[in-house]
Symmetry: C2
Subunit: 147 residues, 2 copies
């Protein structure tokens, strides 16, 4: 069973200390859809914009958040295999990301992991500032593994 | 002028709060060569290995650390443009990285940034565990910009 929303929120924001310290917020956690936000405050780099490591974290966590809301968390766990990021413009505000997996893709991944022991899934995301401008584009490859 | 080693260490470890909170250590900071270490303690993920965001940070900071030891820090500043990471195996210990820029490359970058206002440089790195095993391979594109 996927996790209930409140439990998924606590896991997303607090399970990994590195993430908790960044202040990442899970604003919406639904089966097949998540929206997360990384605060600028506390995460500025040497020129006062959002540090690239905070952008990476914002782009990476959706793979785990979608796992929590959409997959059987007792039988599977996720790993990241690859991440590519293109930094497009300075991130001068809190930055948000939305990520989706449709029902057919969730079933495909889970059935394949059940059968093969593992299955890959990819998320292509846009990280956006408060004005809706894209500050970074990312492509991440994850693997769902059977316990 | 590049920064003296002790000042470069303080800037590398403490200038960016996000990095400081990770406990990143600058073990060696020389013109054209840096070695950094990311502690496992405090940075574990959901399966007890080093969180991918900490690996990203370890792979990203060498671009800035080499800037501090090798370039004229009063006339230029660095930006990251792209980062690609391949996660090869679970990171079950502190993880280290070494990064180099040779003298000719440092001169090429700085002369080009002086002339054009900006110049790109790329670092291809291997992140290694305590046994010397490669846990991740990364390729990052930076830009040196003139103030």
């Amino acid at each position: 069973m996927p996790l209930p929303a409140e439990m998924a929120r606590v896991f997303t924001e607090e399970k990994i200390d590195f993430v908790k310290r960044s202040g990442l917020k899970a604003e919406e956690l639904l089966p097949g859809f998540v929206r997360l936000r990384m605060p600028l405050a506390g995460n500025q780099n040497h020129i006062g914009t959002l540090y690239a490591g905070a952008l990476f974290t914002l782009a990476e966590i959706p793979g785990g958040a979608l796992f929590l809301t959409s997959f059987d968390v007792q039988r599977f766990y996720p790993l990241i295999k690859e991440m590519n990021l293109r930094f497009r413009r300075p991130a001068t505000s809190d930055i948000s990301v939305e990520a989706r997996l449709d029902t057919e893709e969730i079933e495909r991944i889970q059935n394949e992991a059940e059968r093969e022991g593992k299955a890959e899934y990819r998320l292509e995301l846009q990280l956006k500032d408060a004005d809706g401008q894209v500050v970074a584009e990312t492509s991440a490859l994850y693997q769902l593994r059977k316990h």
